[in-house]
Symmetry: C2
Subunit: 279 residues, 2 copies
């Protein structure tokens, strides 16, 4: 297995950064993550756009054009031959002499096997909530201090994940987006203080074909009154939220809209794979 | 120059971490930083206590006792022979197989030359403010996402630093603590949502000898009404805040109490150095 590190493909175990890197010194950097399926980089254009956007928001220079980045990712995929996997790009603040000011970034691309079965029934998950807003929520930064810190609390409550809200206004999970289906059938996802997920974008597109859709304000009270609630992520696709802080959401099982959207997302994935498969 | 890395003293340029470390993947870890003066590790017991406290708060295991840590720091200082320097201990989330769950930490100690002259007049600094609370403020985590992100704004306003507040209640700087001297002579520092700095602790001790002292609530309005305001840190000692968001603080010059406390801090430093100097 190879890792791409600053213009070189190196053997994975040799991909090292000096401890003066600003990610190690100050947790400063951005990243993006996407799945590889049947050797195809899933929705990679969207992930590249977001990666470039995150870098810009965080005042980091990406040392490649979007096309050059895409070529690096494809080259790495060819070398590693991991048709079912996850690929992660990381851009750090670099080897900062004063351990504070970002300088020329270090750039890493790494790949790991990741098999996500095509289950057509959404997984049911139970969640807890926590009052928190990520630092620069529109950027996919390296800062998961809160998400990781909350893990013992998630386990203690026998929950699967933790939903962030601020004063009762819901935003996102540490690594997923959040949706509800209201009693009137409208599909709603938080508009503000949430990362614009690539699966979120896909699910919004798919929802617009059959439902009223809104990006707006979702409160914890809205969740308890909702017909359905679900989360989205590149790794988890769509999972049904059936319990929040110990209270049942909807009827406590994956809802019709959630299930329908999962089917459509799976189809969108298959279509993307066949359209982008190499001969 | 040597760096201590996971039980070994290695040449500084060879101190590398694999990119799977949780600091690089997720910015997860803690650290502490202190000055070395005339070869003496300044107030090192307090820094070790805080390092162990930060680790505990962040669910990270420190692989050494406090005494063993102290011995490592002294050993490194002997090898490097950098009598005027800064020393930084870092504890990361380790080489996490799932890039999320902390595992056995990586532990680093590094040292860099740092000369801090014994100026007896406090430096005058101009600051701006920003509404923000650090994630787990009692822990000295690696997360400086906001502090570093704000640097261009600090420069744009020709300021020296940025003071965090939440809804007008002042907390701390990204890397310093904050104090005011009220019109009645009371020395006050924020009690909550601020890192308990080692210099903050020392300044509180010194203040109690001559002034009324309070750890409590400080608002932005309090700052504008204050007689004096100053910041404290291990590197900056005490600096006078003479301007906040473009408005003058006190009479716009370093105040009497600020100056007096700097003199006493310098004396406390000198006393610590002579009491802890090795034969």
């Amino acid at each position: 297995m190879y890792i791409y590190l600053n213009n070189d493909f190196v053997e994975a175990e040799k991909a090292m950064l000096h401890v003066s890197d600003l990610a190690i010194q100050r947790g400063y950097g951005i990243f993006d993550f996407f799945r590889v399926r049947k050797g195809v980089l899933l929705f990679v254009e969207d992930h590249l756009d977001r990666f470039l956007h995150s870098a810009k928001l965080m005042h980091l220079q990406v040392p490649y054009t979007k096309d050059a980045l895409h070529a690096i990712l494809k080259d790495l995929a060819h070398r590693n031959q991991q048709p079912e996997s996850g690929m992660r790009m990381i851009l750090t603040g670099g080897y900062s002499p004063d351990a504070y000011q970002p300088v020329a970034s270090n750039f890493i691309v790494m790949q790991s096997p990741l098999v996500v079965p095509d289950a057509t029934t959404p997984k049911s998950v139970s969640i807890i909530t926590h009052d928190y807003v990520r630092d620069i929520p529109e950027a996919k930064t390296l800062n998961y201090t809160m998400g990781i810190w909350l893990q013992p609390k998630v386990k203690e409550h026998q929950a699967d994940d933790v939903l962030y809200h601020h004063n009762g206004v819901v935003t996102e999970f540490p690594r997923c987006n959040f949706f509800i289906v209201k009693k009137d059938g409208t599909v709603v996802t938080p508009a503000h203080h949430a990362l614009k997920g690539v699966t979120r974008k896909r699910v919004l597109e798919l929802s617009r074909k059959g439902y009223a859709v809104a990006e707006g304000v979702v409160t914890l009270a809205d969740v308890l009154e909702a017909e359905e609630a679900f989360l989205t992520s590149s790794t988890k696709r769509i999972q049904a939220i059936v319990k929040i802080d110990g209270r049942m959401v909807g009827n406590g099982t994956p809802g019709k809209v959630t299930t329908q959207l999962l089917h459509e997302l799976l189809e969108a994935e298959r279509n993307y794979v066949s359209e982008n498969a190499e001969g």
